[in-house]
């Protein structure tokens, strides 16, 4: 299953400056696992030390938040897009 993972601007620096990457995965968890295997520096920004997705990082399959699907067990199919959307605070600086 070829799935596109979109990497947000603040995290691109930990992903060799890539804005997206293709992985082959049957679930969101698998996709994120492959992503962090590919870019090791990303791991601590996405996951806590006990391997849980950080609460200020949201993950979407297409336009749906995985918290309202099956979280990391959410199945992915060919052509799906996974978006990682961390909170950013910038405004008037």
């Amino acid at each position: 299953m070829s799935v596109k993972v979109i990497i947000p601007t603040p995290l691109r620096v930990y992903a060799g400056k890539a804005d997206s990457t293709e992985v082959s995965a049957k679930t969101v968890g698998e996709a994120l696992g492959q992503l962090t295997n590919k870019f090791g520096d990303l791991r601590k920004h996405l996951f806590t030390e006990d391997g849980k997705l950080r609460s200020f990082v949201n993950v979407y399959v297409n336009d749906e938040d995985i918290r309202y699907l099956s979280k990391e067990n959410t199945p992915t199919k060919d052509g799906d897009t996974i978006s990682i959307v961390p909170s950013i605070a910038g405004g008037f600086v």
């Binding site: 947000p8 601007t9 603040p10 620096v13 930990y14 804005d19 520096d41 920004h45 950080r54 609460s55 200020f56 949201n58 979407y60 336009d63 749906e64 938040d65 918290r67 309202y68 978006s83 959307v85 961390p86 909170s87 950013i88 605070a89 910038g90 405004g91 008037f92 600086v93």
Partner: protein, 398 residues
């Protein structure tokens, strides 16, 4: 703390609500009046509306300009900051003459020049848990253009407690997020992000930079959403998170759901009053940028005299290559993020002085290298900024 610019041409009336426009206003707003989506009814809604802008800088600049120009009758501007030279690259409300002036007052002057028919109230104060509810209560819509997580959560919670819409916009480098929180049945900021990131894990705008046009675009979208809410027309961004990537020039939209177990807006809210948002966000003290690592330091003056003396010091610059191009101290460049895999380029027997722009990243580098076994390593206190202030003013600050 609050000053008012009294309206010059609009007619006072006993109900406090304007029911007519002056001939001058009719001319000013004619391009609104001739479109059925606004018309006289809509323009009067705008005239009677009260919007509070949190922040007058990057996002606040287009917001203030467009809301004032559109005839939103009462604007509140909250900002305690002062216009700085580096603001002019994107904060288009301000001119070079405004550098050094309080932002709220400089914005008020600019906006009342743009539209003398509206009231502009300024609040030169920091938004806090103590003053937020009092400040917000007289406004219909709150527009969040702040730059930090504690204020974001504060604005969200105050809006939910008062039942007011919160037009949210946020930017980073060339990417923006926009939505509307605080609508009946709609989600809130805590539904989207229950917790802020711990300090240090997400770079701030000052560290990350921002492309000047980006706040113009994102702030303009916020202005559009604000006007639509006032007019009660169209489809708001409630329940939708609009993502904008300026580099790819792509807009994407994600579904934003109300979390029924949200502690703020859920079925059984557990937060019923404003809290300490600095503590919530793990920031100790108002200005603290995060838990600073304590490492051995050297002041710029001491470094200068040791270099002049001919001491053998290895200067390690942990900034990014594009920063090195702006100015440098002839150091060896290894960006902080690459340090772990490039440690072998360093000789632990030599004395090393690490530096960055302000001393924060290099403190992390020193901390990392000490853990890796380096013993003779110092952090340049205050970084290149302090070097420019204390040793060599010809080195530009950025």
């Amino acid at each position: 703390m609050s000053t008012k610019v009294q309206p010059i041409t609009s007619q006072p009336n006993p109900t406090g609500k304007a029911t007519t426009l002056t001939n001058e206003e009719i001319l000013r707003y004619s391009r609104h009046l001739i479109m059925p989506e606004v018309g006289m009814e809509g323009q009067l809604k705008l005239k009677n509306a009260k919007a509070l802008l949190i922040g007058t800088g990057g996002l606040g600049a287009p917001l203030g300009l467009y809301l004032a120009a559109a005839g939103v009758g009462h604007l509140g501007l909250v900002d305690f900051d002062v216009v700085d030279f580096t603001n002019l690259q994107r904060q288009v409300t301000f001119g070079s003459d405004d550098v050094g002036k309080p932002k709220a007052l400089a914005a008020q002057a600019r906006l009342s020049n743009l539209n003398p028919d509206i009231e502009i109230e300024t609040f030169e104060t920091k938004l806090t848990s103590e003053n937020a509810l009092e400040l917000f209560k007289d406004f219909d819509i709150i527009v969040d253009g702040t730059d930090n997580f504690p204020t974001r959560y504060l604005v969200n919670d105050a809006c939910i407690l008062l039942g007011k819409p919160n037009v949210y916009g946020s930017i980073f480098r060339f990417e923006g997020q926009v939505t509307v929180f605080g609508m009946p049945d709609g989600p809130c900021y805590r539904c989207l992000y229950p917790e802020p990131p711990p300090p240090g894990l997400v770079p701030s705008c000052a560290e990350g930079g921002v492309l000047g046009v980006l706040p113009g675009i994102v702030g303009s979208i916020q202005a559009m959403e604000t006007i639509k809410l006032i007019l009660g027309t169209g489809e708001s961004l409630k329940g939708r998170l609009l993502l904008f990537d300026a580099l790819a020039m792509k807009f994407r939209e994600l579904k934003l759901r109300k979390n029924h177990s949200c502690p703020m807006c859920g079925d059984h809210p557990t937060i019923t009053k404003l809290i300490d948002y600095y503590e919530f966000c793990g920031v100790r003290g108002e200005e603290a940028p995060g838990p600073d690592v304590q490492v051995p330091e050297i002041t710029p003056r001491d470094l200068k005299s040791r270099l002049d003396r001919g001491d053998d010091l290895f200067i390690l610059d942990v900034r990014e290559p594009h920063e090195f191009q702006i100015c440098n101290l002839n150091g060896h460049l290894i960006p902080l993020g690459e340090l772990p895999r490039r440690v072998h380029e360093l000789d632990s027997s030599r004395e090393i002085v690490a530096h960055c722009r302000s001393g924060k990243r290099s403190a992390e580098a020193v901390d990392f290298l000490r853990k890796a076994g380096f013993r003779k390593i110092l952090n340049l206190k205050g970084g290149i900024l302090a070097w420019s202030d204390e040793v060599d003013p010809s080195v530009p600050k950025y």
